[in-house]
């Protein structure tokens, strides 16, 4: 049955996509026809008075946006279609499939004798590339990036330089071979070609590596390299292009090139830094217009990119710097919804961009023009691979002398194998002006791109399995790990101080202190600026917990009666010190309560008891489940009160980015494994809130979860004594339960 369904859906997908392709091609060819058609009607109308047009066809009015939208739609439908074909998407990475589709579309359009749209360089660099880079930069994992910064920089700068010169030089030697008939390619052109093709491409790397879930170190090495080598590529490209016409490069020019490299990279970072700080500063004041918050992030970042491009600085590095700088402060300031919006928009845009890039790559391949020269292309391919391997091995040998955690042979292999080329190389090649060599170069570039993306992209996954490379470990948010990460930071800094040398930790600590003391005060709004990191983390975790509980609550079935009385009894209690009452609307509050109450039935407590002191002996009840139930209510009271009394700007705090939510492992879960997401002990809410309204004088301890061995049992006992009595009076919704006996009413 399922097989039949999948076959049907496959057929459907295939049919729909074919239809779209044809439609696409028709539209592409129809646009000139529509124009002529309109002219004819115009001429005719001057001859006799035409009737009022009830229905008219005016295509060229909307042709441009129409075609663009259609292309994007096509691309996304293709992407959708791939996942309907399960086997293929496991073996072949998405990028390959997309290129293939591009080839198909290009073929169809060409068969209809039209000119397919080519990957215009301006389109690529200004519109398609920035979202991908911003997405990468904004969500860049900072800790591994900075820890491996030295290695990444060496690979990016020295590695790319090595690649460029090796390939360029060797290609020049190859070109001297008589049989190749490419003797007209001079050294500078070869070097130019080398510089174009030497850079590892972030788009391709992202597309492939994202699917193989490799361990963090390798991922950040390859990916970081692909991002940071942009500066080198820019400099080399411009340098050689300038002088390809001249014919010679003097030593002075070479020196200027080196200076230019520093200017380009540092300048790019500075531009990004400025815009990042501006963006963070702006976000400080957005508390009253939350809706436009995401736009600030996007626009400041895009401006950073464009501003860097104005000066021929490295736009990619600028974009990365902007995202990295902006992120911690913006996230502290913006609402949770804005954070989600930013995240999803970035993912969406980068996904669309990536898809379009690969499809256009395919289309452009079909378009040509091509100048296929066997020797040139084959040698380019071989040299690319060779130089990559040599570069990585050689550099690792040097780097390992300075690294504490050395790179093993397996790591080196993956780094070398992951050096994929992509659309940036193609676009740069497209920018070349010398048409004769341009075609040949383009053909070679496309071949290399195809080879890396198809062959290397497809085989890297089985190779990773074969070599048993460490995969990314699924980490769940753990307060213990966070505590110890911080503890370790301080410990290592202290030991370094005792040892007497200023190491990595010392400077990091200094930066953190500077950040805490000055920068946060400027860039973060309100009292969040002085919040220690551990507390932020903890709050984020809790917030995420609460949101998950609410969300999971909406999936459960609602009880037949939802007592309005208990709902209306609920009021928010007086805020604890330093917190403002949030501005949730009454309806929302009730909605929350209703949903949470819906999980009345499914209460389990995972951790029965943390300490004997939590077990208050109650003379009124003696059943085990009752005691448990009461404890849950107490705990939920805390949780609910916290959730509702979190101040406005706090309530919307973004979730910790690393939190990986697995209900069974939730820190505060009350569920046993049987019904993971349903109602983690939420039934206590209406009661507990009503309880709260009746005992407002309860001191601040009720604001949080209180679950473990208290060393003041006496303080607990009286609390627990009063609670059950009050709760038993308030509780009005028995509901069917498997385990709990609700004897009270």
């Amino acid at each position: 049955m399922a097989g039949l369904g999948s076959v049907c859906s496959r057929r459907l997908a295939g049919f729909v996509s074919l239809l779209l392709l044809v439609f696409m091609a028709v539209i592409g060819s129809a646009s000139p026809d529509a124009a002529t058609g309109a002219n004819e009607t115009l001429r005719n109308s001057s001859e006799h008075r035409k009737a009022f047009p009830v229905l008219a066809f005016n295509y060229e009015h909307v042709s441009k946006p129409f075609v663009i939208s259609l292309w994007i739609l096509l691309a996304l439908l293709m992407k959708l279609g791939f996942h309907l074909i399960p086997r293929v998407s496991h073996i072949v990475p998405e990028s390959c499939l997309l290129i293939f589709v591009g080839l198909l579309v290009g073929g169809i359009i060409k068969a209809m004798d039209q000119t397919p749209p080519v990957l215009d360089t301006k389109l690529f660099f200004l519109y398609l590339l920035p979202p991908i880079i911003l997405d990468a930069g904004y969500f860049l994992p900072i800790r591994p990036f900075t820890e491996n910064m030295g290695t990444i920089l060496v690979f990016a700068v020295v590695g790319t330089l090595w690649n460029a010169f090796f390939i360029g030089g060797m290609m020049f030697a190859v070109c001297q071979i008589e049989a190749a008939q490419v003797g007209h390619v001079d050294l500078l052109s070869c070097l130019l070609f080398g510089s174009i093709i030497s850079a590892v491409d972030p788009v391709a790397v992202l597309a492939v590596f994202e699917e193989i879930h490799i361990n963090e170190l390798l991922h950040i090495l390859v990916f970081g390299e692909s991002l940071l080598n942009d500066a080198v590529t820019v400099v080399l490209y411009h340098l050689f292009e300038e002088f390809a016409h001249e014919g010679t490069v003097t030593v002075g020019d070479a020196l200027l090139g080196v200076v230019s490299f520093f200017v380009v990279s540092v300048g790019g970072v500075m531009v990004g830094f400025i815009y990042g700080v501006l963006g963070a500063f702006t976000s400080r004041f957005t508390s009253h217009s939350r809706v436009i918050e995401p736009l600030f992030v996007f626009l400041y970042s895009y401006m950073a990119y464009l501003s860097a491009e104005v000066f021929h600085l490295s736009g990619i590095m600028s974009l990365i710097a902007c995202g990295v700088i902006m992120r911690p402060y913006v996230e502290a300031n913006i609402s949770h919804k804005s954070y989600t919006t930013i995240k999803y928009f970035l993912k969406m845009w980068s996904s669309v961009s990536e898809t379009l890039i690969f499809i256009f790559l395919g289309v452009s391949t079909v378009e040509g023009p091509h100048n296929w020269n066997w020797i040139f292309v084959i040698f380019t391919l071989i040299l690319c691979l060779l130089s990559r391997v040599l570069g990585v091995v050689g550099l690792t040998f040097i780097i390992n002398k300075f690294r504490i955690i050395k790179l093993t042979k397996k790591d080196q292999f993956i780094v070398a194998y992951g050096g994929l080329r992509g659309a940036i190389a193609f676009s740069l090649g497209f920018l070349l002006t010398d048409t004769e060599k341009k075609d040949m170069f383009l053909t070679a570039i496309i071949t290399v791109i195809f080879f890396t993306v198809f062959v290397q992209g497809m085989t890297i996954r089985p190779l990773v399995e074969l070599l048993a490379v460490k995969k990314k470990k699924e980490s769940k948010a753990s307060i213990n790990e966070e505590i110890h990460t911080q503890f370790l930071d301080h410990l290592l800094t202290g030991i370094e101080d005792i040892c007497g040398h200023y190491g990595h930790h010392h400077w990091k600590d200094k930066l953190n202190r500077f950040n805490r003391k000055y920068v946060k005060k400027w860039l973060i709004a309100g009292d969040r600026s002085s919040e220690p990191q551990l507390i932020s983390f903890y709050n984020k975790m809790e917030m995420k917990e609460a949101m998950m509980l609410v969300e999971s609550g909406s999936a459960a079935k609602l009880p037949s009666l939802a007592s309005a009385a208990s709902l209306q009894n609920a009021q928010q209690r007086a805020p604890p010190k330093q917190r403002a009452i949030p501005s949730i609307s009454k309806t929302r509050e009730q909605e929350i309560r209703k949903i949470l109450r819906a999980n009345l039935q499914k209460t389990r407590q995972r951790l029965r008891s943390y300490s004997r002191h939590d077990l208050f002996s109650d003379p009124f009840e003696d059943s085990m489940s009752e005691i448990r139930f009461r404890k849950q209510r107490v705990q939920m009271e805390r949780r609910m009160s916290h959730y509702l009394t979190v101040p406005a700007n706090r309530q919307e705090t973004p979730s910790a980015r690393k939190v990986w939510f697995e209900p069974e492992h939730k820190v505060y879960t009350y569920d046993e494994s049987e019904s993971p997401r349903d109602g983690a002990a939420l039934e206590t809410l209406p009661d507990t809130v009503s309880l709260l309204s009746e005992s407002p004088q309860r001191p601040g301890q009720s604001s949080r979860l209180r679950k473990r061995g208290d060393t003041e049992p006496s303080a607990n006992a009286p609390d627990s004594q009063e609670e059950p009595q009050k709760l038993s009076r308030c509780f009005s919704d028995p509901g069917p339960k498997e385990e709990e006996e609700e004897g009270e009413g």
Partner: protein, 215 residues
């Protein structure tokens, strides 16, 4: 006072073997030791306390205590010393060596255990083999550099953390059970995601350079 610095590495090859440092590293550390101790043979707590850079460190006292803790001397004694010699100083420092490429998986595992044990000893101040709630709370408080405001947050965070340990390690506690404290096995368990052998290390200088002054 004391052996000439350049010779201590060679004088005591046993040091090299016991601690795993290279002779150059031992020399450098010995120079530092002499600086800290004022050219005497032993270091006391005051000497370490006087390091200016440590002043900002929230867990300064714990770090200093760790040097004087007998448990970190691989001696399986409990208690603390008043002053430590260079050998003992070196033993404590040896916990912060990085793993080498040639290490086997078992050696890495042993190293990780050793480092975790060091951390455990830092938390378990009364030496009973368990980290109780109070001890853990103190750790969190120090990390938060608490004023009075964060007392409550420290409590909550500690509670949550202990709960996490308990629920990870003892999933089916009955209602009568009382979670005494984190034992070493539980401690290992909850921190196994952190890959301690790769994270808990500092770079020890191989070459003969030592910064002047106490900071």
């Amino acid at each position: 006072m004391g052996a000439a610095p350049t010779r201590i590495g060679q004088q005591d090859p046993e040091l090299v073997e016991r601690t795993g440092f290279s002779p150059e590293q031992i020399n450098n550390l010995h120079k530092r030791f002499l600086q800290l101790s004022g050219n005497k043979d032993t270091i006391s707590r005051e000497n370490l306390n006087d390091i200016p850079a440590l002043a900002y460190n929230p867990i300064k006292s714990q770090i200093i205590e760790a040097f004087f803790d007998k448990r970190n001397q691989h001696d399986s004694e409990v208690g603390s010393l008043e002053e430590i010699t260079f050998q003992q100083f070196l033993m404590v420092m040896s916990h912060f060596r990085p793993p080498t490429l040639e290490m086997t998986a078992e050696e890495k595992e042993a190293m990780r255990k050793e480092k975790l044990r060091f951390l455990f000893n830092m938390h378990d101040t009364d030496g009973d083999g368990k980290i109780t709630l109070e001890e853990y709370r103190k750790v969190v408080e120090e990390l938060l550099s608490s004023g009075s405001i964060e007392q409550e947050s420290a409590k909550e965070i500690t509670d949550a953390a202990m709960l996490e340990v308990a629920s990870t390690n003892v999933p089916h506690m009955g209602p009568e059970d009382f979670y005494e404290g984190i034992t070493f096995e539980h401690f290992e368990q909850i921190l196994k995601g952190l890959e301690m052998e790769s994270r808990m290390h500092i770079r020890f200088l191989d070459t003969a350079t030592v910064h002047c002054g106490k900071s």
